[in-house]
Symmetry: C2
Subunit: 204 residues, 2 copies
């Protein structure tokens, strides 16, 4: 609850206002649904604040999240055209990152993931965005394609007021330790358990 | 994973396609963050499908979710103006529901909540929307302002293909039992624990 009183007031020499405005590292993990969906909900709030939003999807299938992508890009287009809300950039690994401009060896996902992270690091250095959605980023970390310690260090040292949300199952303990806000989404019940597959509009 | 194989194929005489297209009752519960945010992420997908989205916020403060509201209403306006995406209606209890047209005794939250549910029931009967977001609806249920059994019965009997997502802590076991998909959001770590209050763009 935003209006609530903090349980602990840290002895860090900062005022409540200063603490309030610290940029957040958020992690949505667990086996349940809603990890990415909640991250894109955060992107809605960011857009409304006029923030620049950068989405980086570390997944192989271009099919995923197409609904959110189209809706958020539509909002980004409104920003470009009418100046309302914030800018939205959506990048996905699926068929080579857009900035790599290569036809690409699409089978080398490890190299693609490393390229994705390298670009994010450059943008963090340049303070390119106000909110970064690193969607399904836990997987390249867990598979050793991107070094967790380097990511944690880079995020800890990021300049300015850049919020970052990382989604994906089995978030590395070092990432959890570094995060300000960690939510675990747990499956209580899923239609798949009753033999029902995903459907359009709900799953994508 | 939408492309995955169901663990169980039920003996219900339906084809996979028929089961796939059954409307879902979804519940986002638990003490963690992301319950509402993920529901509004679902609304993005629904908008992209051209679905009519009805949001009903059972909260008292008009401050909440203003970012999502503005972003989704902007998308709804695009639908009205350019015919892209779906329609979006956003109703909130905070200052009396828009359809009640009364100056209102704003202190009688129980009556307001009951009015909200009565309108949702009318709309379900009329198949007014494709996706209903009943935000923070667990609270009026838990406080006895709206009858859980009646809600579960109405939702079970709803006609057509209307998806419903209910958010809020401590979802009633009867609602959980009736739902197709239940996700629990659990707090692993929150900035409040470190004495940091909510901030604009992140919490609202």
């Amino acid at each position: 609850m935003p209006q609530g009183q903090p349980l602990v007031v840290p002895d860090d020499g900062r005022t409540t206002r200063q603490r309030r405005h610290q940029p957040l590292l958020m992690v949505h993990t667990g086996d349940g649904k809603g990890k990415s969906t909640a991250a894109f909900g955060l992107a809605l709030r960011a857009w409304n604040q006029g923030w620049s939003v950068g989405v980086f999807q570390f997944v192989k299938s271009a099919k995923w999240r197409i609904g959110e992508q189209h809706a958020l890009e539509t909002l980004g287009e409104l920003h470009r055209r009418d100046g309302v809300g914030g800018a939205v950039e959506w990048h996905k690994m699926g068929s080579g990152w857009s900035w790599t401009r290569r036809v690409g060896d699409e089978t080398d996902h490890a190299a693609e993931a490393a390229e994705g992270w390298a670009e994010i690091r450059r943008r963090l250095d340049a303070q390119a965005h106000d909110l970064y959605v690193l969607d399904e980023f836990t997987y390249p970390l867990n598979w050793g394609w991107v070094d967790v310690d380097e990511v944690v260090r880079t995020l800890a040292d990021r300049p300015g007021r850049q919020h970052v949300v990382v989604t994906g199952r089995q978030a590395d303990p070092r990432l959890v330790a570094a995060a300000d806000l960690v939510t675990e989404m747990t499956k209580v019940k899923h239609p798949m358990d009753a033999g029902r597959k995903g459907q359009r509009g709900i799953e994508w």
